[in-house]
């Protein structure tokens, strides 16, 4: 089903290393990760906490810079970008979804969704229409003027998903998007992400340890101790998913 041979690469990391110096100790968070992600792929990065999963995820999203090695987004080495280009990249081309939702508390759902469009210089009327449309897409068409505090966790995460789509990004970066949600709501969010990939061709990269996520992923990258321990593609996952789902229901 996935036509990987014909797709174009969107993110490529080349022997990415990250070391932190903590006092006299040097911590190697990443020990050389090389990975290529194609446009339109749904990738899950899995790994226990402390594995370097989050560090790698942040590098891919242009939020952190590697100590050594390169991260290319669309063939451009992001270390070469200046502050303005980096901000532009975050604003227009990458949509972020956080574990803790991170909506701006004083803004309504609609204002939260239109904020990235403000930064992108979109006309206010156009932004409002588009924002309302996106909230409709995530099933919150009747909650436009609710504040985050007036919404449930699942609703807040759906607002965050709508916000991540504001400027039609090429990549959506989701950090434990289901981490703070219950099983059912988590499933809904995963379904939503999957449909974005299918309907809009968005590349979705998630960092997670939620096994439900496996089902939606094209590839799962397991990170252990700062290195990729294995990469599973969708074809070899079916058995794994079945048994995990079995456990979950039992």
């Amino acid at each position: 089903m996935t036509t990987r041979s014909s797709s174009r690469e969107i993110v490529r990391t080349q022997d990415v290393r990250k070391t932190y110096v903590m006092g006299s100790e040097t911590v190697h968070a990443l020990r050389g990760i090389s990975l290529t992600i194609d446009a339109g792929e749904y990738i899950s990065i899995m790994g226990p906490s402390g594995s370097g999963k989050s560090t790698f995820f942040n590098m891919v999203g242009g939020l952190d810079k590697p100590t050594a090695g390169e991260v290319y987004i669309d063939e451009v080495d992001i270390a070469q970008l200046d502050t303005y280009e980096l901000a532009w990249l975050r604003c227009r081309k990458i949509g972020y979804i956080f574990q803790t939702f991170n909506l701006i508390p004083v803004m309504t759902a609609l204002e939260n969704v239109t904020l990235p469009m403000v930064f992108a210089g979109t006309d206010p009327d156009e932004a409002r229409d588009k924002g309302a449309g996106l909230l409709g897409l995530v099933g919150l068409g009747n909650r436009l003027n609710h504040k985050p505090a007036q919404m449930s966790g699942g609703q807040q995460q759906r607002v965050a998903i709508a916000r991540s789509l504001a400027n039609d990004p090429a990549i959506i970066l989701a950090d434990e998007p289901t981490g703070n949600l219950d099983l059912k709501t988590g499933r809904e969010v995963i379904e939503l992400l999957k449909s974005l990939k299918v309907d809009r061709g968005v590349t979705i990269i998630t960092a997670t340890h939620d096994m439900k996520m496996l089902d939606a992923s094209d590839r799962v990258v397991w990170v252990t101790d700062g290195q990729i321990s294995r990469i599973q593609s969708r074809a070899d996952m079916n058995i794994t998913v079945g048994s995990i789902d079995g456990k979950e229901i039992a």
Binding site: R8, V76, Y84, R90, C91, I104, G121
Partner: protein, 231 residues
């Protein structure tokens, strides 16, 4: 390969890769923040108001006395004489003046430290919000602009209330020390017109100065901090 040209990230036809934050939007965001977080910024608010009130009351009191001393009315002169509020010799006046200045500088300094601290607290409280803004494409300068204007708003609002209270206090003080009957409309008006703008300006400038460091801290916050779950 050209089939998937829909995702050419850096050659998407937009000439300049820039992000913007229009001034109208900046202001509306600041107003919303001040209005909806009034409870949270109460400490900053009270701190500024008290210092400005102190400043306004001592300035207002001075102004009232000076104004009264200028009148030729014998009764007024007698009252002033009796209350001993005017130094007859230049040396006494100078030392009184120095004392005033010293007190004001001291209180302004204390206020500066206090406000800086409370604003710093509110900044660290909002670290995730700032990180999120940056993930959405905000530049350091957007954060600087938002925080400075927001604090200037709080400063101006608190200063206005503080100055109002301060001048009223000055009138009460003058009335108690001298005679309430002397405080006619023109004296009162003069005290307000003279002290209020100065006190408000001082309070606002003080708040902006106090918010410089916290704003710097906020603007340096890295977007990756938005990802952190702890703290």
């Amino acid at each position: 390969m050209p089939a998937s040209a829909q995702h050419r990230i850096f050659d998407d036809g937009t000439a300049r890769h820039h992000v913007v934050l229009p001034w109208a939007r900046t202001l509306s965001m600041c107003v919303a923040n001040v209005y909806q977080r009034l409870g949270r910024s109460a400490l900053t608010f009270v701190c500024i108001a008290v210092v400005v009130a102190f400043f306004a009351s001592s300035m207002g009191y001075q102004r009232i006395v000076t104004r009264l001393a200028q009148t030729a009315d014998i009764h007024v002169q007698a009252v002033l004489e009796r209350a001993d509020v005017i130094s007859r010799d230049a040396q006494g006046a100078a030392s009184r003046h120095d004392q005033q200045i010293w007190l004001l500088v001291l209180s302004a300094g204390l206020c500066l430290v206090g406000i800086t601290n409370t604003i710093l607290m509110s900044v660290t409280e909002r670290f995730r919000e700032i990180g999120t803004l940056k993930c959405l494409g905000a530049l350091d300068s957007f954060v600087v602009r938002l925080f400075l204007i927001e604090n200037a708003f709080i400063g101006a609002l608190a200063s206005f209330l503080g100055a109002l209270a301060g001048v009223l206090l000055a009138l009460l003080q003058a009335g108690a020390a001298l005679e309430f009957a002397l405080l006619d409309l023109s004296v009162c008006f003069n005290a307000f017109a003279y002290s209020m703008p100065r006190a408000i300006a001082l309070g606002t400038v003080l708040t902006i100065l106090a918010s410089l460091y916290p704003t710097y801290v906020a603007s340096r916050m890295r977007p990756v901090d938005a990802m952190r779950v702890d703290i």
